[in-house]
Every structure is written in C-alpha cells, then in structure tokens.
C-alpha cells in the first residue's frame, strides 16, 4: 500500500513528472540523426580492469566522450575516421575504424609511474564541482601509520574539510557529516569509518576508482545535500593471478585477484585487519579496539555486451574490554560494522548507443553492545537496513547529445536502540523492544548533455524524488543545470545550479559524531531537508599548470538538530527531540596544480562561511556551524629523487573549529531545597573558536627494481612531523590552587610510520 502511495506522487499526471517527460521528448526530437556509432570498453592492458573517465575523441577533436563507470563509451564517427583514447598515466592510443563494432581497447600504462604521482587529478570532463581520484597515485601520499586512506586524501581538496584531527569524516561545503552520499559499487554506505573515524572503510587496495561531486550534481544521484562519493572496487585481474599486500604500523592488508571462467571473468578478494591493540599490549598500554574488513567481487562476461558483477563488503569494529573496579567484573563487548552487497548487470545495446545498468543492492549498518556485570547482562542494538534497486540507461543520441535516465527505489528499515536487560544491571535502564520504522524512497531522473556549439556545453537534469514513512509522504522536483563555456583553448568558465533533497539524517549530538549515532528518516513532523547550490567556476590549463577557481552559495532548509537540553539522545520519541531550521554556506575555492616531470604539486585554498538559524537554539539568533572554518590551506608536493625513490609531503592548515563552552556557573537550590546545585552557563552556540591547526606529513618511498615480477615498496614516513597540537576539544584542567583552566587537547602528535607493500 505504501509503495502505491509513493508511486502515486511520481505518476505521469503529476505536473512535475509531465515536465520531466516533456523535456525528454523535446530533447530527443531535437537530436540530429546519428552517424556510424561505435561503442566498447576501455581496459588496462595488464589486468583488464575497466578504465573510467578515459577521453575518447575523433581526429578533429570536435566529437568526443568519456568512458563511464564501467569503462564503456559510445561515439558516432564517420567511416574510416580515427578514434583516439587518452587517459592520465597511460599511453595514448588511436585506432582506425573500418566497420562499426563493439570494441575493447586496452591501454598501456605509461612508464615512470611517479611522473604524475599526485592523488587528485582532473579528468577531461566538463563538470566542475566533480573530481576524480586516481587510486594508483594515492599510494605516494604520506599516511598515518602507513595506512593510506581515501577519505583523508579527499580532505585535502578545496571545499572538503575534516572533523576532528585524524578522523575520516567529510564536511563538504558547509554541510554536515550525514549530507554525503557514499556509494560502494552502487550500494550506500552508512558509516564510512573504522576505529571511531581514524580509518575509513575503504581498503585502497580493493578500489579501482573514486569520483566526488561537490557541486553541479548530476541527476542520477540524490538523497543527500552536500556531496556524492562514488567508489568502484577492482573488478579483478582478467589476465593473471596477482597477489598484493601491505604490512603497516597499525594494520595489514592482502588482496588476491584471480582470472576465472577461461578469461571471461575474475574474482577479487581483499582483507584488512588492524592490530594496534596487540602493539599497545607490547608497550604495556591497553587499547582493546580493533577492526577487520573484507571485500570480494566476482565479475563475469556473459556475452560481448553483457556483464554481471557481484560485490560484497563486510567489516566490523570490535571492542572487548574487561574491568574489575571492585564491585565485580564488568565486561563490555561492542561490535559495529557494515554489510554491503550489490549485484549489477551491464548491458550494451546492439545499436552501440545505449548502455544500461541494473543494480540490486543491500546495505546494513548495525552496532551491538553486550555488557556483563556479575550475573546481569545488558544488550543494546541498533541498525539501519536498506534494500534497493536502480536501473539507468545512458543514451548517446549523437555526438552532440547524450541522455541519462532511470529510476531507483530503496526500502529503509530503521531499528534504533533496542535494549534487553537481564538481572539488575542499572535501575535507570529499561527494556526497550525493537521499534522498527520503515521508509521508502523512490526517484525518477532524466539528464542530458548537449553541445550547443563548439565549446559550449549545456547539461540539464531533473530528478523527481519521493519518500513515504507511515502516513507521511513527500515528493520534490530537483532540477539540475550547468553551462560550460570554453573561452579559448585551456580556459573554461562554468555556472551550475542544483537542488537536492535529503529524506534521512544522522542523529548526532552537537558535541561529537559517534558510531553509535542513529540514522533516522522523515515523519509527519520531520520534513525533508532541502538545499540549493549555485556555483561559478573557472579553469585555466596550460602545459604545466592548472588553476581552478570556484565560488558557491548554498542555502539549506529544514536542517535537523537536537533541541536544547535534550538529555537522553536515543530513547523516547525521537520526533519530540528534534527541531528544524535553516543554514547557509558560501565560499571560494582555489586550487593550483603544477606538473613538471619529477616535481608535482597541488596547492589548495578555501575561504568559506557556514551558519545556522534555528528557532529554539541560541536564543533564535543565527550561529556559525561547528565546522565553520574560515581558511583552509593544503599543499601537496611530490618529488622523484630517482627511479626507485620518491619523497612526498603534505602541509595543511585550517582555522579552528567551533564549540559551545561553559563560561559560568550559578547556584540554585535543588527541588527539595536541601542542597545546592551548580548549574552551567553556556557561551553562545559555537561561539568559541579553537586555535588553528596545522601540520606537516612526509613520506619516503623506496622501491625494489621496478622491472621485477615481485615488486615491493618501503614507505617510511611521519605524521605531524613538528608535533603540533591539532585541537579537537577543550578540557578543564585543575590548577594547583583548585581553580580550573581551559586547555585545548590534540589527539596525535608526531607519529612515525613504516609500511612494506608488495605485489607479485
């Protein structure tokens, strides 16, 4: 019944839906008839891995396209013309066509990998606000404990900020942690962190490609306000069995890729485990916390035009702690983690112009706490489970017009904090059975890219989304438009407008984001969150230098916060604890990339503001968001010392984050008038700013002979070389006279690292 109600709002009779279909018909009718269409896949010659974002163009460079997330491209080409393929880090290739057919282009990796050893590289794609992460080059960056991290690399990009020091959370263009849609092989990820956020979920050995959109959103993505991080795992080597791995200070990982089904498929299995708990034991300290994760993927080519992929992720963080404080032994076991799977079917249509992808996915994030005190036991568990389906078609109508359209539907099941107690663990804790709540989310989308004239590209899209939870049904059109204009060779200016709607949110306290925070959805009282983003970009590219500048303005509505004074954050009626307000973020981002053979560098700078206004918070006055950071600078440099050695460094600076401090106390008798309570007086909300944080990280890579079959690398580095405090919270420290002083505490100082990586 709920599904029927949900689909009634995306029925063709709905005015917005009529607009969507009219737009589709208009664009299709306007399209010019096709030339000879070619289509195919571009792969890595060594391992058969799909190459994403490869530039494919004709000899005159007027017609061109890029490969999609599965390495597929489609292009209309005059007979006997040549087609060129170009990709960062690979040797360019061209082919001359005689007949139209499905092609498989195998690109060879360029020699001298370190020549372009920078993590964040721009692909030849028109969208501004979109950045592709080159995973092969991520390896060169310094990494805390030698464990390289995709999300921490993203934090170095303009517009993306970190939360607390060392953590793997992302705050994009003034948004909150939960406003980022993270997709792992098309399935959503709800907690992208391990060990309270100090590692991200993503095993970099298992990732093939990642792209992040922070503005100019394409209509196939939705459900979050601030960014889309789309990650694809390795398909697995199609040519030979490959083993790779790494032993680091905090964790180790191993990956194996095996061709199967007589070259028609492959299997990739990757695992990772941390042992910081064991190392701490060796030093006489206690840190009873570790994680493991596991990625696996099977891909099989059914026909030349059909391919299926099965991806699985499973990972957990485990805490196992025993204490004997005197009144018996308390043992706490906690387990939290994600279980993600997706089954995808790619189909290239025989006309070579259309490519479809069907995805069935499930994603589950859950945490469990199991505590024993003598004969008593307490179990607390929460989870969110998604089951969904997506179907999308990319249609290269001709070389000037491409379309993308599709639909998706997700069923969310929220099960916040069910509590079961045996014995008398604590009189204040009551049994609370599971209170399952369902939410359905659906969307239709249509987008187009149209070359209006040479150098002028118009991208339009309309996403129509709807969600239903209980009696509450909401639907919203989400228009997206972008215009890119090439002023002259090497100079592009872009303007974009996007609207986004978010139907679910993470219930986090204002002081910290924790893995025990709960995801929750809209209700009759809690409305969907909205955002609009307008951005203006300029890009200048010359031989060795690329300069990119973007300004944005992002108003947000119906943002969610806890009410002031909310004590018990999870129990009771959650709707009653929440208020909704508005926010505004705006800023300017500048990045400069210098590539000069052995030396490469990226300089990034962000100037930004982010504020919130809630009736009921801060005496109704507008306040700065917790992670409002006025200035954010990052410098990344890499220098190839020799064929076998390279040195890289990262320096970053950020204005301090904000918090609400207790700045006074007052005495009041308690309700019995038999005691005096000291009650707090708070500063304005987020009125206190921590000191700026800055640090230098370095990494030296020493390789064995690159020509050998067994390839190995030593990574010797250090995090926070000059041991600078990166404030992440305030503590009250007692002075000798009994008074207190405020101190800003940092988590990580100088942390040396060593890691050994191998492939054979």
């Amino acid at each position: 019944m709920g599904v029927l109600r949900l689909f009634s709002v995306i029925h063709p009779n709905n005015p917005c839906m009529r607009s969507l279909f009219t737009l589709y018909l208009f664009i299709t009718c306007c399209s010019v008839s096709a030339q000879n269409a070619i289509g195919g896949y571009v792969t890595d010659s060594k391992n058969g891995e799909a190459l994403i974002g490869v530039s494919v163009f004709t000899a005159n460079r007027i017609s061109g396209t890029t490969t999609n997330a599965y390495g597929f491209f489609s292009l209309s080409v005059p007979s006997n013309d040549s087609v060129y393929f170009q990709y960062l880090g690979y040797e360019p290739q061209s082919i001359k066509l005689s007949t139209a057919k499905t092609l498989t282009i195998k690109l060879k990796e360029a020699t001298g990998e370190l020549k372009e050893a920078l993590v964040v590289g721009e692909r030849n794609e028109p969208q501004h606000g979109s950045t592709h992460i080159n995973m092969k080059l991520l390896n060169s960056l310094p990494a805390m404990g030698g464990e390289r991290d995709l999300v921490k690399a993203l934090q170095l990009m303009p517009g993306i900020k970190k939360g607390a020091d060392g953590t793997a959370g992302m705050l994009v263009r003034g948004g909150a942690h939960d406003q980022n849609l993270i997709l792992l092989d098309d399935a959503p990820v709800y907690n992208p962190s391990h060990l309270l956020g100090f590692f991200s979920l993503f095993n970099t050995d298992a990732i093939n490609d990642a792209t992040i959109q922070t503005g100019g959103f394409t209509a196939n993505y939705g459900g979050r306000l601030s960014s889309v991080l789309d990650i694809h795992t390795l398909n697995g080597n199609m040519e030979k069995t490959v083993y790779s791995g790494s032993v680091g200070l905090l964790a180790s990982r191993a990956t194996v890729q095996v061709p199967v089904f007589k070259g028609k498929g492959s299997v990739m299995v990757a695992g990772r485990v941390s042992y910081i708990n064991k190392l701490y034991e060796l030093t006489g300290k206690k840190l009873p916390f570790y994680f493991y994760d596991f990625n696996a993927k099977i891909n099989y080519r059914l026909t030349a035009n059909d391919r299926v992929f099965l991806s699985v992720y499973d990972g957990d963080d485990i805490l196992d702690e025993s204490e004997s404080p005197g009144a018996g032994t308390i043992r706490i076991k906690s387990k939290m983690g994600n279980q993600i799977s997706s089954l995808r079917w790619n189909h290239a249509f025989s006309n070579k112009k259309q490519f479809s992808n069907l995805t069935l996915f499930s994603s589950r994030y859950r945490y469990q706490v199991d505590a024993d005190l003598n004969e008593s036991n307490l179990k607390i568990s929460s989870n969110i489970t998604d089951v969904g389906i997506r179907y999308g078609i990319q249609h290269q109508v001709n070389n000037r017009l491409s379309l993308r359209y599709g639909a998706e539907m997700i069923n969310h099941t929220f099960n916040p904090n069910s509590t079961k107690m045996k014995g008398s663990f604590n009189e204040n804790i009551k049994d609370r059975p599971a209170q399952v709540r369902m939410m359905k989310e659906a969307a239709l989308y249509l987008s187009s890219q149209y070359n209006l004239s040479t150098g002028l590209l118009l991208s339009t899209g309309l996403r129509y989304s709807a969600a239903q939870s209980g009696k509450a049904v909401y639907s919203n059109p989400e228009p997206r438009v972008q215009l890119d204009y090439r002023l002259k060779p090497g100079q592009t200016v872009s303007v974009a407008y996007s609207e986004m709607v978010q139907y679910m949110f993470l219930l986090s306290g204002s002081s910290a984001v924790l893995p025990t925070d709960l995801w929750y959805g809209i209700s009759e009282r809690i409305k969907p969150q909205h955002a609009q983003i307008i951005s203006l970009g300029y890009q200048y590219t010359q031989k060795m230098i690329t300069v990119k500048a973007e300004a944005y303005y992002k108003p947000m509505q119906k943002l969610v916060e806890y009410k002031e004074g909310t004590i018990d954050l999870v129990n009771g009626d959650i709707d009653d604890k929440i208020i909704q307000g508005k926010g505004k973020a705006y800023g300017f981002e500048l990045s400069t990339k210098i590539s000069n053979g052995k030396f490469n560098a990226i300089i990034g700078y962000t100037l930004s503001w982010s504020n919130r206004t809630f009736s009921g918070l801060n005496n109704d006055r507008t306040f700065l968001a917790r992670y409002d950071r006025r200035h954010d600078i990052s410098l990344i440099a890499n220098y190839e010392l020799s064929k076998r050695t390279a040195l890289s460094a990262v320096w970053c600076y950020a204005t301090g984050s904000r918090f609400t401090a207790i700045t006074g106390q007052f005495m009041m008798p308690d309700g019995n008038y038999t005691d005096i309570d000291l009650l707090p007086l708070y500063s304005g909300r987020n009125a206190i700013q921590l000191s700026a944080s800055h640090r230098l990280d370095m990494n030296l890579i020493i390789k064995n002979n690159p020509g050998k079959k067994y390839r190995a690398e030593w990574h010797i580095g250090a995090y926070n070389v000059y041991n600078q405090t990166q404030p992440y919270r305030i503590k009250m420290q007692k002075n000798d006279d009994g008074s207190y002083a405020y101190k800003q505490v940092g988590l990580f100082g100088f942390v040396p690292s060593i890691a050994y990586q191998f492939t054979f």
Binding site: T660, T663, G664, M667, N672, D675, S683, S739, Y740, G749
Partner: protein, 291 residues
C-alpha cells in the same frame, strides 16, 4: 623477518608523541545576580516563611563548591548579593524581607492567597533595582490518600493525587527524611537554612499526562532511610518552574554532562538568572515505623 617487522612497528609506536595541550583564553560570562525563592508552610503549626536568596554567578573556572557553614549559610561573600533591599509585593501590600545572613533574605508568616499576583524586587542601598520578577501564587493541592507499606527493610510510600480538570497543571512532590524530634520552627531562619544540610531523598515532577481519568497513584520505594520520619510535600507549580526543575534534575545526570546537548535554563528574572516562584507545598509527616 616477522620478528624484525614487529620490532620496527613497536619502536615506531614508542617513538610516537602526544602533543602538549594548548592554552585558550575563553571570555567568561558576565557576572549576574541569581534569584531563588522558597515558600514554607507547616500544616500542623500553621507557620509559614518566605526565603529569597540572592547570589552571583561564578566563572566556569571556579574550582571549589561554595562552602556552607553549620547554620546552613554560604560562607564566601564573593558569591552573594549582600545588603540588598528585598521587597515582596502582594495584593495585600508590600513587605521588606530581613537579611538574616548575607544574601539570605527572610520573612516569617507571609500570607499568600490563591492566584494572587506577586512581585519581588531587590534594590541596592541607592534604590536602584538589581533584579525583579513577577509570578502568580499557585493554588494549594493535597494528597487524596497517603500511606506507608512494606516491611521496615523495604518500605514504600503510596499516595494518590487528583488532577484539577480543565486546566493544565504541573506538580512537584518532595520526599525528605528527618528525626521526629526535629519539628518545624519556621520563625527561626537558621532552622530553614539548616535544611540545606538535611538528608534529602528525592523529588518527582508530574504533568497532566501522568494522570489517568484525573487520578494518579504512585508507589515509591524509600531508600537510604537514616531517620525515623518521612516528610512528603505536594505543590502545584507553574510551567516555568516545572521546566526549570526538570532541566535541573536532568542536568544532574552524568550522561548529560558527557554527551547531552547544551542547556540554557529558563528564567523569569529581569536583570538576572534563577527562578521566582511561590507555590504552597502541602506538607505531610509520617513515622516510618507506623503500620
């Protein structure tokens, strides 16, 4: 090889440093006067007393709790608003409260009428108002039934309250223990001040939603009894004071101080903080050993 790697990893971990905390200068909240009031009424002796305490806000970096002397008065005068002229205006006139100890203002046998409008004003010796506040006297309520049950090692207090239909109500129920010989003597301000050191049990807050068909029955276990007498009082309070007490009670929970949201306490004081309220508690005294 394995041992070498473990050795290297361990050495690396040992070489890691913890950075020194940084100082930060946080501007403290401006000092403000704080008002608290309590009206006492003893059903048996028909004595009543009104107490108004005037204190000052402290900085967050103040380390020690205010010291209280054997009479129950706050010792450190820096925390008190002394030498103020505190007046209570009711429908029958204005009375000036006596400062029996710095910051501790007292009046004996103050008659309050249901629903009358009252104003408290504190001014300095120059006649300038420091703080002022207004409130309405809440109607007196009583227990519908009250009894003790259970063996001496496991005593319960049982009571029933009847809600006044048609109007929203908020209730405060106080539980205290004391010795029987310690009878109320409200014309002695030190007696009232000493209550600050008396053994408390707890208090409960109720709203209309806690009542079913206009009545509510409560059975509450009496724990940590050290004296032979239970004093239980019920007051009809206004919503503002209910919200204040609820926030105060919740703030005391450790979980809130660790992870709870910012709390801004409600106030009805002009020029200061705290809460001015005049509820009239109905006090009942029970012998713990009565059957």
């Amino acid at each position: 090889m394995k041992n070498s790697i473990i050795f290297l990893l361990t050495i690396s971990l040992l070489a890691a440093c913890t950075p020194e905390p940084l100082d930060i200068d946080i501007r403290q909240a401006e000092t403000k006067p704080v008002v608290a009031t309590q009206y006492y009424f003893d059903t048996i002796t028909q004595q009543s007393a009104l107490i108004v305490t005037l204190t000052k806000t402290l900085t967050a970096t103040t380390g020690n709790r205010p010291q209280i002397d054997s009479n129950g008065f706050i010792v450190d005068q820096d925390y008190l608003v002394a030498n103020a002229i505190v007046e209570l205006s009711t429908s029958t006139g204005t009375i000036t409260l006596e400062e029996v100890s710095p910051g501790f203002y007292y009046a004996f046998n103050v008659e309050l009428l249901d629903h009358e409008h009252c104003r408290v004003n504190a001014s300095n010796t120059n006649g300038e108002t420091i703080v002022s506040a207004e409130t309405e006297v809440m109607a007196e309520v009583d227990f519908t039934s009250l009894s003790l049950s259970g063996p001496s090692s496991d005593r319960f207090i049982n009571y029933t309250l009847t809600d006044n239909p048609g109007t929203p109500n908020w209730y405060l129920v106080n539980y205290l223990t004391k010795q029987q010989k310690d009878t109320a003597n409200y014309n002695d301000p030190k007696y009232i001040a000493r209550r600050l050191t008396e053994q408390k049990l707890d208090f409960d807050l109720f709203t209309d939603s806690d009542f079913k068909n206009g009545t509510m029955s409560v059975s509450r276990k009496l724990e940590n009894l050290q004296y032979d007498t239970i004093a239980i009082a019920v007051s009809n309070i206004n919503k503002g004071y209910y919200d204040f007490l609820l926030t105060q009670k919740r703030y005391g929970l450790l979980v809130n101080q660790l992870k709870g949201e910012v709390i801004n306490f409600p106030t009805n004081i002009k020029g200061g903080l705290g809460y001015f309220q005049l509820s009239r508690p109905k006090l009942r005294v029970l012998d713990v050993n009565d059957r």
